[in-house]
C-alpha cells in the first residue's frame, strides 16, 4: 500500500480515538498493563506497596481492563486481517541474510528490553507518545521524536553490521 495513504488512514484512526475516547494510539502502555496485572495476580501485597505498581492497581477493574489493552487486541486482529489478505501470514525470522538466526533473536531480545525500559522512562513509545503527541502538538512528542530518531541516526553507524 502507498505509504502516505497508510499514514493518512492511521492519522484518521488516531483522530477517531481522540474523538470517541480521548485517547491516543499506543502500544507499550498495554504491555505495561499486562505486566502490572500479572504482578498483581502473583503477589498482590507487593503490587499494592511498590510505588511503580501502587498507582496502577486497586481500581474497580483489573489493571488489564484498560482502553489501551483492548486497542492493542484490535491491533492484533487488524494486523492478522491485513496480513491474511496480502498473503503475508508466514512463520519466519525477519532478518538480513548475513545475520545468523541466533544473533538476530538475541539482538531482538536486547532491543526489546531497551525499548521496554525506554518507553517507561520516557512516558510512552513511538506511537503512544511521539505520534499521538505530535498530533496534539505536544512538546513532549517532538522531544521524543528527537530522542528516538535523532538518537537513532547518531548511533546507526555503530550498529550497521546488524543490518547492511
Amino acid at each position: 500500500m502507498n505509504s502516505y495513504l497508510a499514514g493518512i488512514f492511521i492519522g484518521l484512526f488516531m483522530v477517531l480515538a481522540y474523538y470517541f475516547s480521548g485517547e491516543g494510539l499506543g502500544a507499550s502502555g498495554a504491555l505495561k498493563s499486562v505486566v502490572v496485572a500479572s504482578v498483581d495476580a502473583v503477589n498482590h501485597d507487593y503490587a499494592s506497596n511498590a510505588s511503580f505498581f501502587k498507582a496502577r492497581v486497586g481500581g474497580e477493574h483489573s489493571p488489564a481492563k484498560t482502553w489501551l489493552v483492548f486497542e492493542v487486541l484490535g491491533v492484533i486482529a487488524g494486523a492478522i486481517i491485513s496480513a491474511a489478505f496480502a498473503g503475508r501470514l508466514k512463520i519466519e525470522i525477519g532478518k538480513p541474510t548475513h545475520i545468523t538466526n541466533k544473533k538476530r533473536l538475541i539482538a531482538a531480545l536486547i532491543g526489546g528490553a531497551l525499548f521496554g525500559i525506554g518507553s517507561q522512562l520516557g512516558r510512552g513509545c513511538t506511537s503512544g507518545m511521539v505520534m499521538s503527541g505530535m498530533g496534539v502538538l505536544s512538546l513532549s512528542g517532538f522531544i521524543g521524536l528527537i530522542g528516538i530518531f535523532g538518537g537513532g541516526y547518531i548511533i546507526a553507524y555503530f550498529f550497521r553490521k546488524l543490518w547492511i
Binding site: N2, G29, L68, G124, S127, G128, M129, S132
Partner: protein, 207 residues
C-alpha cells in the same frame, strides 16, 4: 515519487494551509467583537428589565428566574433582593459560576446599586455568548424609588400610571417597603445551584 504519492502529499500541504489561514484570519469570538458591534450591543434595549417587571416575576414565584447580585459580599448581606445569588463582579468569571450563568433555560437578571456594574457584567457575559442575561434597569436605586417607595402620580396622569402605582404599592407591601423602608426583608437565601457535568481529561495513553 509516483503520482498518487505526490497527490497525497499535496493534499496534506493544502490541509495544513487551511489550518494556517483559518488560524490567522479567524480569531476567537473575543477578538472578533469590533467597536461598532459593541455599540450595537450596548444600544439594544431588550437587555434591560424594568423594576416593575422584576417585581412581578418575583411575586409570581417565577421558577425560571435567577437573580444575581453583583455587589460586594458586605453590601449583599446588608440588603438584597429576595432569592438573589451574590456573585461580586470581580468573581464573575470564576468557573464555579459558569453553570449558573451559561445556560439557556433560566432568565438571569443582574443588578447592582445603579446599572453600571450590571452593564459591565452583561458585556462580559455577552462576549462569552451566554444567553438570557438581563440587567435590572436603574439597579437597586430605581428599585427603592419605584417599588419600595412609590410616589403617587399627578392627578392629571394617565390611567395606566395609576394602575402602575397601585401595582407598585401592592409590591411595596409585598417586599416590606412603605413605612418600613430600609429594613431588611425576609428573604430566601439561595444556595448556588451547581451541577457540573463530570469533565476530566483522559489519562493513560502509552505512559
Amino acid at each position: 515519487m509516483n503520482k498518487s504519492s505526490i497527490l497525497l502529499v499535496v493534499l496534506l500541504v493544502i490541509g495544513a494551509f487551511g489550518t494556517f489561514i483559518i488560524d490567522t484570519t479567524q480569531r476567537e469570538p473575543f477578538d472578533k467583537v469590533q467597536p461598532c458591534d459593541l455599540i450595537d450591543i450596548i444600544a439594544q434595549t431588550n437587555k434591560f428589565v424594568t423594576t416593575d417587571e422584576l417585581a412581578r416575576k418575583i411575586m409570581s414565584d417565577d421558577p425560571t428566574l435567577t437573580i444575581i447580585d453583583l455587589r460586594s459580599k458586605t453590601e449583599y448581606d446588608k440588603y438584597s433582593l429576595s432569592g438573589a445569588i451574590n456573585i461580586p463582579l470581580e468573581n464573575l468569571s470564576e468557573e464555579k459560576y459558569e453553570d449558573v450563568l451559561n445556560q439557556d433555560v433560566r432568565t438571569v437578571i443582574f443588578y447592582s446599586n445603579s446599572s453600571d456594574l450590571a452593564v459591565k457584567a452583561w458585556m462580559l457575559t455577552s462576549r462569552l455568548t451566554y444567553k438570557n442575561i438581563f440587567i435590572l434597569q436603574g439597579g437597586l436605586n430605581r428599585w427603592v424609588e419605584t417599588i419600595l417607595k412609590p410616589k403617587p402620580p399627578k392627578e392629571t396622569a394617565l390611567r395606566t400610571e395609576f394602575e402602575m402605582y397601585s401595582f407598585r404599592r401592592a409590591a411595596s407591601s409585598y417586599f416590606g417597603g412603605g413605612s418600613t423602608v430600609g429594613e431588611t426583608t425576609i428573604k430566601k437565601k439561595v444556595a448556588l445551584p451547581i451541577k457540573r457535568k463530570k469533565k476530566s481529561a483522559a489519562g493513560g495513553g502509552c505512559d
